[in-house]
């Protein structure tokens, strides 16, 4: 073996080691990224008002009292500030969080809630259609009544939608699994 070929060998060994190191870094980075993203996707976003779903559900409120459009519209709707004040004009008026809500009402400003369950723009989804077939809110949204701050219960991706759509009665499956059912 000549001197130069020895050198080449050690050089290629060095670059192999480098390559392995870099590959490790990439893999760690990707895994970390995926994990963190997943965690964040399912985490409860920070809201302008510390609203507790648990307290309200335990007090006996139905989902549809506030999200009243779910039966009639594509979107379930976020209650108006007026609706909040409908009760909180008299109930728990000394609570600092309730007073914050009352502040929005006095200024006639909307509360800038952060959306919890998000679908991309290319997905057509209708609450009305799903409620119409008798599906409960909890089926998709999980035990919101037990959550202090609302967070997504499941990752609402296409596989998850299809899991359910494919289990429907045979005569409906073709329609429910059609691309155009959701991607109009």
């Amino acid at each position: 073996m000549t001197e130069s070929s020895l050198e080449m060998q050690s050089q290629s060994k060095r670059s192999l080691r480098w390559l392995a190191f870099i590959a490790m870094l990439v893999i760690i980075g990707v895994i970390a990224g995926v994990l963190i993203t997943r965690m964040q996707v399912l985490a409860a976003p920070e809201q302008p008002i510390a609203y507790s779903h648990r307290v309200h559900v335990e007090a006996g409120l139905q989902c549809l009292y506030c999200h009243s459009n779910a039966l009639r519209s594509d979107v379930a709707g976020i209650p108006s500030v007026q609706l909040c004040l409908g009760c909180h004009g008299v109930i728990a008026t000394d609570d600092p969080v309730v007073q914050e809500v009352a502040g929005y009402w006095e200024r006639q400003e909307p509360i800038p809630w952060v959306r919890v369950n998000v679908q991309p723009d290319f997905v057509y989804f209708s609450h009305q259609a799903h409620l119409g077939t008798g599906i409960n809110c909890e089926t998709c949204h999980g035990p919101v009544g037990e959550m202090e701050t609302a967070r997504p219960a499941v990752r609402m991706d296409m596989g998850w939608c299809l899991d359910c759509h494919l289990q429907q009665p045979e005569e409906h499956v073709a329609r429910l699994a059609d691309c155009l059912a959701c991607h109009k």
């Binding site: 390559l19 990439v26 995926v34 459009n69 979107v75 006639q108 800038p112 952060v114």
Partner: protein
Amino acid sequence: MKRKLTRRDFLQIATGATVITGFAPKLRRIILEPFVQPPEEVLPGEATWYASTCRQCRAGCGIVVRVVNGRAKKIEGNPLHPLNQGKLCARGQAGLQVLYNPDRIKNAVSQTGGRGSRHFEPLYWPDALDILFNKITSLSNPERLAFLGGMMPDHLYRLVVQFLDSLGAPPPVIFDLHSALEGRATALNLSQRFFGVPEFPVYDLSRSEVIFSFGANFLETWMSPVNLSRAYGEMRQGQFGGRGLLVQFEPRLSATAASADEWIPTPPGTEGFVALAIGRIIVEERLGHVGSHRPHAVLYQDVDVREMAAASEVSVEQLRRLARIFADADQAVAIPGGYLTSQKNGSASMLAVQALNLLVAQFGRLGGVFLSQPGPTNALRQTPVSGTQAEGAFSYQPIIDLVDRMERGQVDLLLIHGANPVFELPDATGFSEAIKRVPFVISFNSFVDETAVWSDLILPDHTYLEAWGYQVPAPGANRPLVSGQQPVVQPLYDTKSTADIILTLASRLGGEAAAALPWSDEVAYLQASAGELQGSSLSAYDARTRSGFWALWRQHGGWWSDREVPREPELTEIVTKPLPIVQPQFDGDQENYPFHLYPYSSILLSDGRGANLPWLQETPHPMTTARWETWVELNAETAASLGVADNDVVRVISPYGELEAPVVVYPGIRPDVVAMPVGQGHKDYGRFAQDRGSNPIKLIAPLEEPESGALAWGATRVRLEPTEGRKVLARLENLEGEGRESLR
């Protein structure tokens, strides 16, 4: 220096990027803002459609507006409305950009830097109303108050008339350039002379077999273009077993002329001569099949066909052929259009054209000429109090009188609603100077236009998608009709309805004003007006209660009859006198000013009120595909003689001013005519309109048509001078040209 990217570099960069991406995941954070107070009837995410009335021109088409989550998204024609039957034009569609325009005045303002400074400061509404109240009460004489209106909705016009009347002030002066360009004043005058009533005739185009249109660009801007375009479509599809025929007489090939079977480019001001010659031939040769022409012979006793042929440059053979076509048709109609009224012999030309309908007995016949039947809507029309307005409406004379009063210091307070005379009138009128002599000016405009700049206060009215009102379309449809207007969204800004301001003023003033205007607010007034129609046997709907009727009124977007109610015009004795032959007269001698200037109303920007809507600016003009500019249309022959080509800038000089604009070489125009679209050349009126193009109205002579008092806007001659300049027009087929950068 060049460095090669090695594999190592690549891997390093890739790793770095992946790690950074992995540790900083980008999540979509979406803010959902609920309503503070939810509007009634609104379901989030679901569209609600509200019926209302388009206010982009005077036609009064019915619209339905798609509203989602309290935001207006799309305007369409109201399918139930008898006038436009579900159709809508580009200007109507662009109405959303009036609502969402970034240059709207968002609250009451006072011009603190002095008039013309364009320095505005917000004003508290109660203070603004106090100022208005004090200005009116401190007038030494109500005669010193003047109200100048533009395209006001009918309900507001009625309120203003009643208000001014109760104060003892002179009636409102109405002027808008669009109406001048379509010749409304002369058309009313014609009806007055022919039928004894100052109303616009309804031409039943859909059932005509042959249409001779004399300068009526009814597919673009004339009178009620959506209604007439629809009728034109039906005429072409041949209800009577054949495709109808359209012949257009005008010096420039408009989009209407381009749709015609035949375009006859007559010299400006000679269209009436063609009609006279055709009439004479029909009478002389006893053409047609409607019986004897003997009673009509007197009309044409002074007409010499050869003279008329020479003046109008249409040969006698051709005139004879046209006369046969017209007289032999089962349903033929001649339309006296807007371009005729632009000449100093406008009334005579209009009369000559309308007389053709008499020869073929088309008054009150299918495919002919009708008047619209007001039915129970009469009380809601524009002329409710006294007959004073009817004849002077839309004409040039009242505004000249107003300028005169202002110049002589006889006006202490000027109120302006929807009018922009500083832009719309020729400079020679002297309006811009006269307004400076008025001590206090209040404008109710939604935008700071050239006239609002000269006001002390601007008390912005709502835009039409936020406002109440109604309009009795004129010309109407084939049945009694009122178009209702209602807010489709909450007002976006702190604006106030002018009708409400007037009602508040009246109740504060007390006395006669309060007695004349007893309504608590605009809606109460409209409910009372609409209620007058309840119980009519013609109604397309009815309800047992007032509130039920009001609900149906809003659902339908107005009130109309469920069936056609024709009204035959009655002829006056004018039809027994020889028709006048009046030679056209022009300002500017032929030697120094060899070309006729034809400032035409643009199908997109109309008279300039559309110039602040980028959708309309960006839409290519149908005949030239140009946009975002003013251009000069020249015949290829004319262009060659001047040595200019497309996009070369020429100077257009009239005895009253000059301007520069790029050339469009246009084969569809007479070599002795120069056409320019009206609409650009704004100095104010928002970011999309101002400092763009030039205003051809500034070139025209302040001439008046003597019979009707209309502005003779087509009777000015100009000369052209080539310049060194070149300005590439933005067109449909190129990516050059200025304008579009303002959208970025």
